[in-house]
């Protein structure tokens, strides 16, 4: 039986196609203005890779910011449920999922059945979200993917005090003007971000195993800072792109509903 999950976020859209226990295809595209478009595109892409057509999909579940606009799904599930499900399927020992998406950061606590016990979002503020890093990367004219490595070369330890994206940007620019090393600034941003997410997670309690999901998990700088700040081992999902975890969760739901 073939099912699909589609996660339409604020920055990217992801699709996953599963056959029984296996992910047979996956795709990620940058979000268009209209979530319906993004969903359509990313799904087509995934189908093409798998050499399938819409008709082959028995059941599809949507999630993410744009979930209500996805035409081809039979059901929608919240991001929280999907991230929890995806992570637990991939790693049954997981008890805490830390997800940093484009628009918000969340921490999810699971029980040994994979059921969500508690969850928490960051207060309304973009600091500590994917968008935050994106804006900063632009401000420093470095490319988002490279940030992780650049941050590691930091020699000096500085702090960024301003948490508002827009003003953190000003501060970053003035730090550069003061001749501060870009790597040191990026390093500070990573630590600030990790710090916020960790205190968020701690407020609902953190138990091992801890898994980090979402696009930002690919940023080794934030990832390491997170483990460092939590003072616990933090894990990647086994063998899958952390960015598609939500879509995987959605696909798993699809399998149940089908």
């Amino acid at each position: 039986m073939i099912v699909a999950g589609c996660d339409v976020g604020s920055l990217t859209a992801k699709a996953v196609i599963m056959e029984e226990e296996n992910i047979i295809s996956q795709a990620v595209v940058l979000a268009k203005t209209r979530p319906s478009e993004s969903a359509g595109d990313v799904m087509e892409k995934a189908l093409k890779k798998a050499g399938l057509s819409r008709g082959d999909i028995r059941f599809a579940v949507g999630t993410g910011y744009g979930k209500d606009q996805v035409s081809f799904v039979q059901r929608v599930e919240s991001e929280i449920s999907c991230h929890a499900k995806g992570a637990w399927w991939n790693r049954p020992a997981v008890r805490t999922v830390i997800d940093i998406g484009g628009q918000d950061a969340k921490a999810i606590q699971l029980d040994d059945k994979g059921k969500v016990v508690r969850y928490i979002y960051n207060d309304k503020c973009a600091s500590g979200t994917g968008r935050f890093l994106e804006v900063m990367a632009e401000a420093m004219e470095v490319d988002l993917e490279k940030m992780g490595d650049i941050g590691k070369q930091a020699k000096e330890r500085i702090t960024i005090s301003n948490q508002c994206v827009i003003f953190a940007e000003t501060e970053v620019v003035s730090l550069i003007n003061e001749g501060k090393d870009v790597s040191a600034i990026i390093n500070a941003l990573h630590r600030a971000m990790a710090g916020r997410v960790v205190s968020l997670a701690r407020s609902i309690g953190v138990e091992t195993d801890v898994v980090m999901t979402g696009g930002v998990a690919k940023n080794s700088g934030v990832f390491d800072a997170l483990a460092d700040c939590l003072n616990l081992p933090v894990n990647h999902l086994d063998g899958i792109d952390p960015q598609i975890n939500g879509a995987v969760g959605a696909a798993l739901f699809a399998r149940e509903y089908a």
Binding site: D123, I160, S161, F167, S174, G195, S199
Partner: protein, 376 residues
């Protein structure tokens, strides 16, 4: 030690919550009590081996943890304090004493109790009005504090001890006032930043050490050349300003801060107590009546009046009225004050800022424009 060396020493002192002098005093068996808000009488926290320490968060950066608990709609001062406490930077305190000065501080104590439950914490329920009933209430409140202090720290809170505390505080205030008055001169020998440094130290170190320092300062300041190249004499009005950055930024644009009216400044901070009165009543009375704070809601005209008088007394060209973002009581008052001052013919600038200075460039622009507007 020259005036400037002394200043550098004082800066080191106020750069750390636990400064070297305090550290020594603690080693000698004294008990530092953290407090904030002018409605906490310092005299009561200096009884019999206690040392009042105004809690600050020097060099505070992010307030990640505090924002989760106190939320991000409370003022950055209370958030920074919680952050410091959570980072164990105030573990050296023997206890915390607050006054219900504002909701932020009220909730700060709630969160402190919840998160780090200190051995000793107390909230003085200071009334929001003057008058006899309120004064009685406040005196009773101070009595409760004294009992609690005596119980917990086994200290002497008798009338004699109180009298001694009053006398000591007066001595300290007298010598601080002498330096404060130097700022009335046409060309003061001391800048606002330097004075702020002295005031802040006086709120965070043992009185003995401070008096020694003040004696030196008095000698050295006489031999010092006067401030000449400044564009305007300014007064700063507002709430809690407990580092030198803000004043320094103002003066970096060419203004000279010669007068103040904020919680941690010389006015109304350096109130003198009448040593012939019953100490507790005198302390309560002066604290309740002479701490001019918008939390009292009523008497706006009195507060405005006293600011105008001070401005004239120190011959200032303009007044900078500041409040920390999210501060309710000062936030509302600054709006009214600015209008009132302008009506009185005093140029005024309203500034909203964060506890820890950010966006210095923007701050400088506004102050420069303010000076330009005054043709300075």
């Amino acid at each position: 030690m020259t005036f400037d060396d002394r200043q550098t020493r004082l800066q080191d002192i106020i750069d750390e919550p636990l400064n070297t002098w305090l550290d020594q005093a603690v080693a000698d068996g004294n008990v530092p009590i953290g407090y904030t808000c002018s409605y906490v009488p310092r005299a009561l926290l200096s009884l019999d081996g206690l040392i009042p320490v105004r809690v600050r968060a020097p060099g505070a950066a992010g307030t990640e943890i505090a924002e989760i608990y106190l939320s991000n709609v409370t003022c950055s001062y209370s958030r920074s304090l919680l952050e410091f406490a959570m980072d164990d930077r105030y573990d050296f305190l023997g206890g915390w004493v607050f006054a219900a000065g504002c909701d932020h501080i009220r909730r700060l104590l709630d969160n402190l109790d919840y998160l780090i439950s200190p051995d000793f914490s107390h909230m003085i329920d200071a009334p929001h009005r003057k008058g006899d009933a309120a004064l009685d209430w406040y005196i009773k409140e101070l009595d409760i504090l004294l009992e609690k202090l005596a119980d917990h720290f086994g200290i002497d809170t008798g009338e004699e001890a109180l009298n001694a505390a009053v006398i000591n505080q007066n001595r300290l205030h007298r010598s601080l006032k002498e330096i404060a008055d130097l700022r009335k001169q046409k060309q003061p020998p001391i800048s606002g930043t330097e004075f702020q440094r002295i005031m802040m130290a006086s709120l965070t170190v043992p009185a003995g050490d401070m008096e020694k320092a003040l004696r030196e300062i008095k000698d050295s300041v006489a031999r010092r050349e006067k401030q000449t190249d400044f564009r305007a004499r300014l007064m700063v009005v507002g709430g809690n300003i407990d580092d030198t950055d803000f004043i320094h930024t103002i003066e970096s644009t060419g203004g000279l801060v010669v007068a103040d009216r904020f919680c941690t400044g010389s006015l109304p901070g350096l109130v003198m107590l009448d040593e012939s009165n019953d100490p507790l009543t005198e302390i309560a009375q002066k604290t309740l009546l002479e701490t001019s704070c918008p939390r009292m809601m009523e008497d706006f005209q009195d507060r405005l009046g006293s600011i105008i008088d001070t401005a004239r007394e120190y011959d200032v060209d303009g007044v900078i009225v500041e409040h920390i973002k999210f501060c309710d009581i000062w936030g509302i008052e600054t709006g009214l004050l600015v209008d009132g001052l302008r009506e009185a013919g005093l140029p005024a600038l309203r500034l909203e800022r964060d506890y820890r200075q950010t966006g210095e460039g923007q701050l400088r622009t506004r102050i420069q424009a303010f000076l330009e507007r005054m043709n300075k």
